[in-house]
């Protein structure tokens, strides 16, 4: 079973449609995804080679129940142990993995759960990533917030009590340039204690500029670490350049960011290999930059506007839980974020086991916080969302639910220094 991603909009011109179809059907019409484009900084790093060599040689069918038992007994989880925990042989041990993961989480994070909310400031995009609602061929309402609109949105969010914000854009340098994002960061510093960024990858000097504007965390999803598969999903635009994306976190750290976050989008490719590569990306980069704070997310594919059939295929909740437990056991000090793509039930359960951060009061649309938070229609245009969310809980509700689970919600544990 595969997802069918291609959707043609009636509003595309004949030429645009022809180009879209050519990109979809003729690989030779697409740019080399391993080749840097002009202006993209190339850094010398061996992290990528190490991660890819492990991923390419990973044959999860060779692991047995005995390997999984041994992995669960070890004090320190080795890379081999981690591979066993990610394998199908570990599926019957899910409860034991969850117990060990919970123990590790409580040793390193106690019973705390951090809360944040994303703020999408623009949904223009120059890329054709076939699974994404923002892709340049998808017929959605596009929008880029002005600084006044951004400030208004931030006020609404800050009034709800939220103290950490993640600023997102579609991946369009043309529409949302680095200065525009920098100005948004400066505004965010007025209203929030912690400002994170999830934008298109940029060069080291640009990360440094954004850090000076107030951002301190950078999230970049690699989507899939399988470069060949990546090529078939990201058909056009800067995002198509796979190695430039891979090195984004390293450039962000060199640019002075305190922390970086990683993820594969599960359901795009072989999820066990992608989970292995995501965690090893963290592991090897941490060895090189021991001071950096690192976090992992674990999103699964979701339906988008104009394509409600998109789904995470073989990554069911049990598999997702297995991956998250394996992450926690292998990297006990690393933050794990679970987004509102997952259901309230799943998120309530997983914060007791492995997750340390969840979003609340989420909208993946543009400029719609006022209407979503207050029920008041602003009368202003709103931009469409990136994907459908599942868990709609507000900050208040999330705060209460976490407390009711016997955990401690935390709105801020951070200082910009």
């Amino acid at each position: 079973m595969e997802n069918s991603f291609y959707v043609d909009s009636e509003r595309l011109s004949k030429e645009a449609l022809a180009k879209k179809h050519l990109l979809e059907t003729d690989p030779s019409s697409r740019k080399n995804h391993m080749e840097y484009l002009p202006g993209m900084e190339i850094i010398e790093s061996v992290v990528r080679e190490k991660v890819m060599s492990h991923m390419n040689s990973y044959d999860y069918s060779v692991y047995t129940a005995a390997d999984v038992r041994a992995a669960l007994e070890h004090d320190t989880c080795s890379i081999e142990d981690f591979k066993a925990l990610l394998s199908p042989a570990a599926e019957p041990f899910l409860e034991a993995m969850a117990e060990k993961a919970r123990f590790e989480t409580s040793k390193h994070f106690g019973n705390t759960v951090y809360l944040f909310t994303p703020l999408y400031i623009a949904n223009y995009c120059e890329n054709y990533c076939v699974y994404c609602g923002f892709n340049c061929y998808n017929d959605i309402k596009r929008m880029k917030l002005s600084m006044e609109q951004i400030e208004k949105e931030m006020k609404v969010i800050a009034d709800s009590g939220m103290e950490e914000i993640l600023i997102l854009t579609g991946e369009s340098r043309g529409q949302s340039n680095v200065e525009y994002i920098g100005e948004a960061c400066k505004l965010a510093r007025k209203y929030f204690r912690m400002v994170g960024l999830e934008i298109y990858p940029v060069n080291t000097d640009e990360y440094r500029y954004l850090h000076e504007c107030g951002a301190d965390y950078v999230t970049v999803f690699q989507e899939t670490y399988d470069a060949d598969k990546y090529e078939t999903l990201h058909l056009l635009g800067h995002k198509r350049v796979w190695p430039y994306r891979f090195d984004a976190q390293e450039r962000a750290l060199r640019g002075g960011m305190r922390g970086v976050s990683f993820s594969a989008l599960l359901g795009l490719s072989d999820f066990r290999k992608d989970a292995l590569a995501s965690a090893l990306h963290v592991y090897f980069l941490q060895r090189k930059y021991p001071h950096a704070e690192m976090a992992l997310s674990c999103p699964r594919l979701r339906p988008i506007i104009n394509n409600d059939k998109i789904n995470p295929l073989d990554v069911h909740e049990r598999q997702l839980c297995q991956v998250l437990c394996a992450y926690r056991i292998f990297l006990p000090w690393v933050g794990i974020t679970v987004s509102s793509r997952e259901s309230a039930e799943f998120r309530n359960g997983i914060v007791k086991i492995a997750a340390t951060k969840v979003s609340a009061g989420v909208s993946t649309g543009i400029g719609d916080h006022e209407s979503k938070y207050t029920g008041k229609e602003s009368g202003e245009p709103e931009g469409d969302e990136q994907f459908e969310i599942d868990d709609n809980r507000s900050l208040d509700k999330m705060y209460k639910d976490i407390t009711d689970e016997g955990l401690q919600p935390v709105l801020n544990d951070y200082l910009y220094v």
């Binding site: 590790e104 409580s106 040793k107 390193h108 106690g110 019973n111 705390t112 009590g161 103290e163 204690r193 941490q286 021991p290 001071h291 950096a292 704070e293 690192m294 006990p332 000090w333 401690q408 935390v410 709105l411 801020n412 544990d413 951070y414 200082l415 220094v417």
Partner: protein
């Protein structure tokens, strides 16, 4: 015992349990004060830097000494900035220096800690540095103006207890400041052992925060720390090494 006070930077305390930072809740602070007898409570400035909803400052009962820490600092300069911010927030003159250049084990950086200690001691802070138990670094901290020295027992989150026991003992023997054992104490028995060795106080948080019955665990810590202290003051008895002592004196051959 009544006169047995813990003195840090000229301030006197009866309790030798200090609540660490990290996992806060009203219930934890209540248990630490009421059941563990804590008179000093650590406060992570990064956590205090929050809006009204969960202001930790509001949790702190009267009469308790606040010990703000500099967690989040990656070098001396950042630690100094956080300490000054703590003072501005109204946290007083005490400061616990925590400087980590390692987010995996959260091991303190002794060199940067010495630098920050010197700067802050000169600014009138009562400086309590968290450190890796190294005698040379501890001596430098004394010279830099520290009010106590706080060696780690084992890496945070490791549950290994007194993994650095031999080195903490050297600090206790050689350093003329209170040695407060911090990080890694997971059980009352470990706290008791450190106190028997001559540690001046114990700092803990996770061990309490994650206990099933908070007040009960808090009182267990209090008793363990008091027992260890009494044992230390009484002079811990002779511990027979492997095998019995020779029944015939080894020096019986000496004639005059």
């Amino acid at each position: 015992m009544d006169n047995d006070k813990l003195i840090i930077g000229g301030h006197e305390f009866s309790s030798r349990f200090i609540l660490g930072s990290g996992k806060y809740s009203m219930k934890l602070i209540e248990a630490a004060v009421k059941d563990a007898g804590a008179e000093i409570i650590t406060l992570a400035v990064r956590r205090a830097n929050t809006k009204d909803q969960e202001s930790i400052l509001d949790y702190i009962p009267e009469g308790i000494t606040l010990l703000p820490n500099t967690s989040g600092a990656r070098n001396a300069e950042e630690a100094v900035r956080i300490a000054r911010l703590a003072r501005e927030l109204g946290c007083g003159n005490f400061v616990k220096i925590e400087i980590m250049r390692d987010s995996k084990y959260l091991l303190p950086d002794n060199q940067e800690t010495i630098k920050a200690t010197e700067i802050l001691a000169n600014e009138g802070f009562i400086v309590m540095p968290y450190m890796y138990p190294d005698l040379n670094a501890a001596r430098d901290l004394v010279n830099a103006g520290a009010a106590s020295v706080m060696p780690l027992a084992s890496p945070i989150g490791s549950n290994k207890g007194l993994a650095t026991k031999e080195f903490i003992q050297i600090l206790i023997d050689e350093i003329d400041l209170p040695i407060i054992v911090d990080a890694g104490i997971g059980r009352p028995s470990q706290a008791c052992e450190a106190m028997e060795m001559g540690a001046a106080a114990i700092m803990a948080n996770t061990a309490l925060a994650t206990a099933g019955d908070l007040p009960l665990m808090a009182s267990a810590f209090r008793q363990a720390i008091e027992a260890g202290r009494k044992a230390y003051l009484s002079g811990v008895g002779r511990v027979l090494t492997r095998g019995a002592a020779a029944s015939d004196p080894l020096t019986g051959f000496l004639r005059d």
